[in-house]
């Protein structure tokens, strides 16, 4: 019975404290995939704990209410807890209401998640379908063009998925830059980043105000961008990708040759501006060394394992 409270206690602690632990480890962006894995593991660990803890409490409330009442009473009041207290009808009623409340809260979160995720999937598919029907095919690329003067490019999952480029974007991109944009979008689709976004946004909606799920959703989005940048930079070149980023973000054509490459730049100068685009540009200008990446990767992998294993250990030892 104490296992249930240990699990719920862990879930609450991790949901509020894990972001403070993970943020410094993942903000360097040295090791993108292990960083993503760490955030997802933290979220998964909390979900497992909440599910197990709730299930145990619900089971105890229906099968063995007196012992649940005793454990709870001792947990709260310690030695001041007397059998007269936890055997009273009033106390039993309170415990029943508490157990029902925990169960209802968990089911409500599940319902909110399902509603949000289902709507996201439907609307996303419809958007992809509409883009494929209304857009003009961009020969030889599999992407479609929408007529709009604003430079803009995005991908949207569906059956099939769509990569959309506006005519405004085509006007400011040269051919290698367009290839870099398309490589970035294909990396999103190939990496199933839309699935990641659907799940993490669904969780943020299911647990409103919980720091881990809010931060986790934002970090998943940010790290997905970095992962797609890495893939695109490998095929199209870092300089071309930076030029493409700047061209679309500023709406003015920027030739790839004008982008300084491996220039001596004080770390943090661009990111200090606090904008997403400068941070991405800076990261592409100064890619993290392989040693740093490996070190962060190792630490993050260990942290991920702890997040997943801890609930199992708690459930096993406290049982």
């Amino acid at each position: 019975m104490t296992a249930a409270f240990a699990l719920l206690g862990y879930a609450i602690a991790a949901a509020w404290c894990a972001p403070a632990l993970l943020a410094p480890l993942t903000s360097s962006d040295a090791s993108v995939r292990p960083a993503l894995a760490a955030w997802l593991s933290a979220m998964a660990g909390v979900l497992i704990s909440v599910t197990l803890g709730t299930a145990l409490i619900a089971a105890a409330a229906t099968q063995d209410l007196p012992s649940l009442a005793r454990v709870l009473c001792r947990g709260v009041a310690g030695t001041a807890c007397t059998p007269q207290m936890y055997r009273s009808a009033l106390y039993s009623a309170g415990v029943t209401i508490l157990a029902a409340g925990v169960t209802v809260a968990a089911l409500a979160a599940l319902w909110r998640y399902g509603r949000r995720a289902r709507r996201a999937v439907t609307k996303t598919r419809l958007h992809a379908q509409a883009a494929l029907l209304a857009g003009r095919e961009l020969a030889g690329t599999g992407a479609v063009v929408l007529d709009d003067p604003r430079p803009f490019a995005y991908c949207v999952a569906g059956r099939p998925a769509a990569i959309v480029v506006t005519s405004g974007a085509l006007a400011v991109l040269d051919e290698p830059q367009l290839a870099a944009v398309l490589a970035h979008e294909r990396a999103h689709l190939a990496g199933h980043h839309h699935l990641l976004a659907t799940v993490t946004r669904g969780l943020a909606a299911a647990f409103p105000g919980v720091p881990l799920f809010i931060r986790g959703r934002d970090e998943a989005a940010r790290l997905s961008e970095m992962a797609a940048d890495d893939t695109a930079a490998r095929s199209a070149g870092r300089r071309t990708l930076i030029a493409a980023l700047l061209s679309i973000a500023t709406g003015a054509a920027i030739p790839g040759a004008s982008v300084p490459f491996a220039a001596p730049v004080a770390q943090g100068r661009l990111a200090a501006a606090g904008y997403a685009v400068p941070a991405r540009v800076e990261r592409l200008l100064r890619p993290p060394g392989s040693g740093t990446a490996a070190m962060f990767g190792l630490v993050l992998t260990l942290v991920s394992a702890v997040f997943i294993l801890l609930p199992a250990v708690l459930a096993a030892t406290a049982a």
Binding site: Y154, C155, P160
Partner: protein
Amino acid sequence: MRGFGDLEAVVMQRVWDHGGPVTVREIFDELRETRPIAYTTVMSTMDNLHRKGWLARERDGKAYRYTAVASREEYSARLMREALAEAGDTEVVLSHFVAAMDGGQADALRGVLDKLARRRPS
């Protein structure tokens, strides 16, 4: 590539190009010139598009006359509204290549890059 939505897209383009009401026979005759295709395939494709809300139809004797519910431009505008609003909180999941920066942000970034370019050892 486009996958199995392909024929629907081709038919929609043709309907838009026509401007006015059009029959399955007319679309079929056009498509037959560019690819081998069965009349029933075109018919079921246009029926699907009607069911999905892209084409409106009116009975004209034995056949239907189809028209696009909205123009291509209207669909494009709607898609862009949805895509740009995503930065806020619509439910469509899509990945922007990059969000547009306002003038100040763009100038700041360009300034830093210019400085870097000057410092580049040549």
